[in-house]
Symmetry: D2
Subunit: 394 residues, 4 copies
């Protein structure tokens, strides 16, 4: 795995926005940053409430004077420090991603931002422009593409190992979060996922459909051209946009058909992120719940199982692994791969060097924009009952 | 398993139409008939060519005078024999199912017929009327519903073990038959599956989509109300109706959403018949390639795995199994369950008794008609790009 | 699959000894005989009680005059018939196998006999001599070697596909039969498996250890040279020889080490017959509960999964399969493979021809004798705590 | 997961011995220390060569003045610092564990030490005494017992969920390390695993048999009473003690029989640590390659699958997990659980408080001694061919 200590002589200094006491994703981001010893978390804004932000920052080991009460304060104060932060990681609720990203970009920071990019396509496209203009590194944490075997699948499709893509299917079938009740309380108020203005156009599509969509694009190397969708609620008492189920038919750029199924209301389902792609010469199958294997079907020969750390892997997969075959790597490790990739790109930018090609496999701002277009298109299709063009033109 | 020897004092006498030397399904039907010793195959029409029909009949052990050259000859001659046949099993190409069924019904025979019921919905509806009028037993061999664990799933949904159905997904993803070439030669001519007038409106939907569709209806206990479909060819050089891929979104009677994916062009895929259904209290998952297990997810408790022959099975599953737990039963055994069910219904009719309720779980003529409506609706949707009502009203 | 109708113009006529109303294995043998339409069951002795033997024979469809009261009566009467039986199949309790086999051989019949060959090694060795002297076909139903993928494994090892064998492990871990109670009642009396004089030297070794042992020999192509064993009872209240657990270390002919674990008291275990063998170039793994796959590990390349009906199979595997890939074959089909093999050997003998080499892969009388030596050696080792030589010299 | 920042107001300061540039386990230990933010690595001795030790220390981010050239230097210098280290972690070659542990204990440090405890039983017993006398925390990294589902299994057995233990089987079947060649070169010289004085009495038993043995003791809550073993080399050219295969039969304290199979020469095997234990009411099965599930067989009910993060888990399992169900945790996370446990015990000692009972589930010095006794006994049995008593009396 990449080491900034080797390249830069030190760890990158990270400031985090969001991810406080009750957050699921906050500890994941911070552990990902620590995993390969490329970052130290030096500054934080852990809540929109300034008082809580400071208390919670100290509670995770931030020095009291760098546990800030607002992003603006963090940007300004860190800018002035000799040992100020290098990178901003954003893991606050969905509706704040755009605002904090804009602030970080304006302050000149490289950005690691949780998905979605924004809650509207317009904001997303605006961010694309800003990132390009600023020339910063922007990593959007579609974290499942950090798994070594997903990278293997991507490289195999790209290299023609299964021939031209003929069809694809993706699923994300969960059942623990929000599976059974009409909504979820979070302390005094509603869980923000069920507050329309915070979650965006569609809960299930923003939360997990976004991952399935990105996985399809990442592995096939193609965009979706058009789709027809059934986006709905299945738990009685829920209303749009708190969707919990979406079915989708789509066509890729090359007209190959695809099917997608995502839900967070599959009672008792564990996780269920899954992709299967068939080409003219074979197929690939990957399941997030057993992420260390990739299954390769072949009409003329027995099927192959690629094993993380084992023989037959491409450099893209090798680069994303840390330990020996058979010692399972999981979700946290995959997440950390994006942090390591971003670190390499950031250090290259700092040193004015071209980054390693392989370090550029992480998802960025354009990927985030594609997902927003996808969500908007699916919702439109669900409302009209028609096929909808979902090309972004990027 | 049911025994006609116990109930009737003898085996049922079976005449078979189709299933000659090059047939895949012919030996399957005959072995299914022999499996539980409820039938002896006494008469045959194994080819539309009278000469070949006789030769091939003798080759499978039929007495020379009962290896007939045509169905008409078989019906007439057997009718006149003291020890004439009781039942007709039809396994000829798709476009002849209707014609032979009509002939058999008119001659008063009980019928076991391979799917599809017919190649047009009108013919199918006509058969429904004829079967009802004649009062005969008609078994349509949607054979996958003969698996004990499929019956377990059906009975669990019916009994409310997973609560009201909220969503369902079905797949049938194959890759060996017709996976890679534009068509398949069969000796001198084309494989009949690629001859439009023989295969019906859609190759992939008739061949395997029909099974996935029936499985959804059988397990959920509901019909499909409407659907939108993408039915297409993915192998270059193929044209409609030699479809090899279909994606589908649908709604069940209770408005629960569903997703379906069927293909015969998934390079290297093995078989891939699969169903997953979620209700308000849990989910069920069954894979035809490991048919002796049924997986039951539960949000509040660890998941259960039901094992054929093991504890916790309903009478519907128990009835459909022959040997002890852990001794795998397969495709041939499931097929034979339908023959055993039909035998019990036929004997009950002969004896003027009400059949065992559990013996009526086999698919019949109305199920065949539903499938024809489904195929017609899917093809219409694929052409118009719209959602289509697919209710049969039965 | 082999057809006697093609080769001989008719089915072989089979007489069965044992397998009456309460038998597990009786219906399995008869369905195996019917599976490929190579046999018709024409005569029976279904019980040691002559009255019951007749009643139960008629109940399974045997003509009343051929439902015999004793084996002696069957041998004598059938001998005198023009259409008398060709083959005897023995599936009575263990302690009668030797006696009935001797009778059948003396009467000149080919024999299909359930395992074990006998309850003492001396009797077994005597049978080896008698079979060789008589020149008859003797098939011992170690039925698991009828699975196509087991034959694939055997052929791969023999052909050097994994290099010289370096180690092997086998398991048979069951938990439903006799798992929890000290013994099992069977109607009025004890289940015969718990009656020492009927079951032989060791219940668990005779019942299932025998299968594991044969599987090791069949797949590796080698005999066991020496072993140390721990053969014991784990359910309180049981006493020797009603053993329910055996652990074993052994060396093959080439000094490669092996490990074996067999039990019928693994609470809740399903079936658990399993073999894993490693050679210098790779390994093979097969599990009876998913018998249609064979896993092939390779240090330098991704692992392969062979699929019944799929690419890469040897003629030995191809010969033992009936239907297309992905349509699971199970226990009953594997059992029937031995019947088909035996049929081919028997017909060849009747016609005075050399049988197809591939038809000789079924286990015979010498295999039965090896197993008896194995059981005797294991029991001796368990009593002495020492390594014991277990070579038979055949 | 436990946080020292919350309890102590700061991270523990860790000094590491061993784990330099070519080490597999060094990065694993350090990442485990960072995972939950309970430790900062402040000091190091990364090589027995002082020059390399300093260079390599700086290369992993240690301050130049704390990248020591020897353990003695580290102990002495750190002792004198205000902000000196709290804990020593030892991950150097096997033959140095004893020496460094003694040094650290004498200097008053808590110790986290890789297995084995020592290369002789005498040294191991001496360490037991020293640890007890010093009252320090000593964590032996039998890291597989950090997996949440292993802790679930341990707690279930202890709570009687499967009833009294009746039998157990354990495997560790690897094939990548040292699978095929007689030995392994490591740069200029031999890989230290193949140098007898460094590896101890038996390569395969020390390297991986130790883990299998500890897993059996941890899950069953019992010690091994006696055993018979076949410990050998299977790769031509290897000699004792470079064993690569061991089979074992044993009895637990309660006389329940066990079987063990460990090898590093299973060509192409992936990892293969596995345990299966049966009690009077059910069985448990766990496979390290899919560590997030635990399978629970039950004779009277369908089997259960426990899922990390899912319903039905005991506090011992809950305590050892970090993220939501379905997001796989792996080897690195399990390793880090021991570090978190040790941190909690160390902080409790520093604060003079009783530690949380659940924090004491990590393996300690006595566990290390049991393993040394086990290895010595197995080697003795292999040499004599006899059963050997292997009780330690602790």
């Amino acid at each position: 795995m990449y080491s900034t200590i080797g390249a830069l002589g030190r760890r990158l200094r990270l400031g985090v926005i969001g991810g406080g006491a009750k957050s699921f994703i906050g500890p994941v981001h911070r552990a990902a940053a620590r995993m390969d010893d490329n970052y130290e978390v030096v500054a934080s804004v852990l809540s929109s409430d300034p008082e809580r932000a400071k208390t919670e920052g100290v509670a995770i080991g931030i020095a009291p004077d760098r546990a800030y009460g607002s992003a603006e304060e963090m940007f300004a104060t860190e800018k002035a420090r000799e040992d100020g932060m290098d990178v901003v990681a954003i893991m606050s609720p969905n509706d704040s991603h755009y605002r904090y990203s804009v602030g970080a970009i304006e302050a000149g920071y490289d950005v690691i931002c949780d998905k979605p990019l924004a809650t509207s396509l317009d904001d997303g496209l605006d961010l694309v422009k800003r990132v390009k203009a600023a020339g910063i590194v922007f990593c959007q944490t579609f974290n499942y593409t950090g798994y070594p075997l997903v990278r293997q699948a991507m490289a195999m499709v790209r290299d023609g190992d299964i021939g031209a893509v003929r069809m694809v299917e993706a699923e994300y079938v969960q059942g623990y979060n929000y599976a059974l009740r009409p909504d979820e309380k979070d302390g005094a108020g509603k869980n923000w996922h069920f507050v329309p203005e915070k979650t965006g156009q569609s809960l299930v599509l923003g939360d997990i459909g976004s991952h399935a969509h990105h996985l399809v694009r990442y592995v096939t190397g193609m965009n979706l051209a058009r789709l027809v969708a059934d986006v709905t609620t299945t738990v009685p008492g829920r209303v749009s946009p708190s969707h919990d189920h979406a079915g989708m038919l789509f066509r890729l750029d090359n007209d190959a058909p695809g099917v997608m199924w995502v839900t967070q209301a599959g009672a008792g389902a564990v996780h269920g992120l899954y992709i299967r792609v068939f080409g003219e010469k074979g197929g690939l199958e990957w399941v997030q719940e057993t992420p260390n294997q990739l299954f390769h079907s072949r009409p003329e020969s027995p099927a192959l199982t690629y094993e993380r750390g084992g023989p037959g892997l491409k450099p893209e997969a090798r680069r994303a692994e840390r330990i020996a075959i058979g010692h399972p790597e999981g979700y946290q490790e995959a997440f950390a791969v994006l942090y390591a990739d971003a670190a390499e790109a950031i250090v290259a930018r700092k040193l004015g060097k071209a980054p390693n090609r392989l370090a550029l496999d992480f998802p960025g701002v354009v990927d985030g924009a594609h997902t927003l277009k996808f969500i908007a298109s699916a919702v439109e299709s669900a409302e009209t009952g028609r096929w909808v063009d979902c090309r972004l033109g990027m």
